[in-house]
């Protein structure tokens, strides 16, 4: 097996942006493939099975949302979306279609690298299939025992908070939309007006897990879209 030589596919119609991404990510032995159109991107993704896809939202021959949906029909590869200023509802649609995270142009190389690293780490974590424990810093989530420990001490969470935490923590680095979280927790059960209280449940959960709720370490707010577990 060749060591962890990663392959990253960049789909963007702007050659300058492809150059920037390639330059930022192409060091330490990562192979960067380029595609200028959605069609070309989908073909390359199928042929080369990249470890991560960097996808521009404004391609001339297909909406980012549609491309995400097509990719998701056969692969779980992390998708990092590059967006110029897009409306909140466009972002939500993109994540509902399967995008993992996004960076807004103009982004810095450091920001891009950080996001890519986080997504690759998640992909690696998921590959270790059958894991029953999620550990992040001093937070321990035992999926079998349905137990949460922080710095070694047990934390009491309500059933809804538990479901929320599991939905978030099993998708580290991925933006979970309000709708996705809601579906994961309530699974179509009768919920009254629970949906509008989703943010309040998250706030309660955060108060239990974060030492400083305004400087969270685990649960990050993605305005108007949802939440992400991990930076």
């Amino acid at each position: 097996m060749p060591a962890a030589r990663k392959t990253i596919l960049v789909v963007d119609d702007e050659p300058q942006i492809r150059r920037v991404v390639k330059h930022a990510l192409g060091d330490d032995g990562t192979r960067v493939l380029e595609a200028a159109t959605a069609r070309e991107g989908l073909d390359l993704a199928a042929a080369e099975r990249p470890d991560l896809i960097v996808l521009d939202l404004g391609l001339p021959d297909g909406s980012g949302e549609e491309i995400c949906r097509q990719l998701r029909s056969w692969t779980d590869v992390p998708i990092l979306v590059l967006s110029a200023r897009h409306s909140d509802s466009e972002k939500v649609a993109l994540f509902d279609a399967g995008g993992d995270d996004y960076v807004t142009k103009p982004f810095s190389s450091a920001e891009l690298k950080a996001r890519v690293r986080a997504l690759l780490r998640r992909a690696a974590a998921i590959t270790a299939e059958g894991a029953t424990k999620i550990v992040r810093e001093d937070l321990e989530i035992d999926l079998d025992k349905r137990a949460v420990k922080l710095g070694g001490s047990p934390v009491h969470v309500t059933p809804i908070e538990w479901e929320l935490l599991v939905a978030l923590a099993t998708h580290p680095g991925r933006v979970m939309t309000h709708r996705q979280l809601f579906t994961a927790v309530w699974r179509g059960r009768d919920h009254g007006d629970a949906q509008q209280y989703l943010r309040v449940y998250v706030a309660h959960l955060r108060r239990k897990l974060e030492a400083d709720p305004v400087h969270p370490r685990f649960i990050f707010t993605i305005p108007a879209v949802g939440y992400r577990f991990g930076p």
Binding site: E14, Q16, I17, R19, V20, H23, A24, A84, R85, S87, D88, S89, T104, K105, P106, F107, S108, S109, A110, Q196, Y197, R199, V200, Y201, V202, A203, H204, R206, R207, P213, V214, H215, P216, F220, T221, I222, P223, A224
Partner: protein, 510 residues
Amino acid sequence: MSRRRRLRDATLWLVVLAVTTAILIPFRAELDKAHITLVLLLVVLGAGAQGGRALGIGIGAASFLVFDWFFLAPLHTLVIANPLDWLVLFAFLATSIVAAQLLHREQESARIAGARADEVDRLATLGAEALAAARAEDALAAVASRIRESTGAESCSIYIAEERGVRLGAASPAVPAETPVPPLVDWVAKEGAPAAQTSGGTSRLGSTGFRVREIARKSDSEVHAILLPLTVRNQTVGVLRLEGGGIAHLDDSQWRFLDALAYYAALGTERVRLAAELANVEALREADRLKDALLASVSHDLRTPLTTIKALAHELGALGDERSQVIEEQADRLNRLVARLLDLSRLNAGAMPLHVELNAVDDLLSAALQDIEPRLAGRTLVADLPSDGALLVGRFDLSLAIRVLVNLIENAIKYSSPGTTIRLAVWREESNLLVSVSDQGPGVPAGEEERIFTPFYRPSSERPDAGSAGLGLAIARRMAEWQGGAVTYTRTSQGSTFTLSLPAADLKEL
């Protein structure tokens, strides 16, 4: 024509009287005086009904003589033997006159009623035409031609008074649009008073509330044209000008009718004015839409080159060039400036999308801090949540609220020195959720506490190129107000405090 008709009527009724007399004469021995007077009275009434009051009275007088001459003893003289016959004779005369008078009065009121019905009919037609016309200008033209018809004037023009001046709205018969506006029209529009023009060319001016008919009557020479101000809700909206056709010789009811017509003309004028105003507003709105589209497009298209610039600067930085950091910062600043112009344009147009939801204040603070903390440039940021650990929630748009808070913190960074502390506090006060941002800067110059919220404001002490467009606070306040909140300023002993207020919400037990 009318005189000939009168003559014909008089002859006719004299013949009728003669024939009636001739028929009665053979029987005068058998007939009572009452029978004769009744028959003659019938003739008098007939003449009055057909030929009018004067003929009735004339035939009455003739009958009086006929009665005396042919039927009262002694016959064929005007002498009256029996004094009682005087009584009969004068009773007959009086009855004739009264009957003719009554008939006349009835006929007159019937005529007036007919004229009124006619006026109402014309006004109704005018109203219907004015309402039915699709274009305001067509309606006004219809009104002009109706007024000309009803008054018998040779020409009727309606002028529209606008801010830019007076212009011709409609004329009957039509004239070229560029026909110059007579100076007297300007005067009437400005003063809101009527005026008249004599055929000699002299102008006679009235005053507000003065009736044009008074001017026309008092004028020593022939009035050739009259000008009426058209008013709607006590505002002069136009001028009605009627020329020729003996316009000064209208009778009272025609003047009254003209007043009613003038009201229609005023409404028509107002409609044209409003339609023009609406078109103007539409044009402005379109310009606003274009501006928004342009800003959105610029803001979007700038991002790709800015990304490249930042990346290249970063690469230069890796090679040890310290200026690269400045390039990156300036690229970000340019990006923020365009984004803010777009925000301001949308807020001004009321087109900022709004999604008000139940949100926890923790989300607001954590997302705002995550955004701003890399840009503190040496200031310390301290955020205090309520000490009792209560979870504060409100109904607001999280994205917009974050931008308001980030703008307030950016402002605090801009006007305080490195090494100072910026303090955030959150609390609830009645139905409001309050987030304050306090800095240790110099504070806002006295007297400028409200002006700081106007777009493009810069403190009077600041250098013109101090690196701010002066949009942050203006946008912050409008974004807060857009979601039912507010941003206020207070001076503290330490510096400045800006407070964002948002609608609070109460949590049911979860």
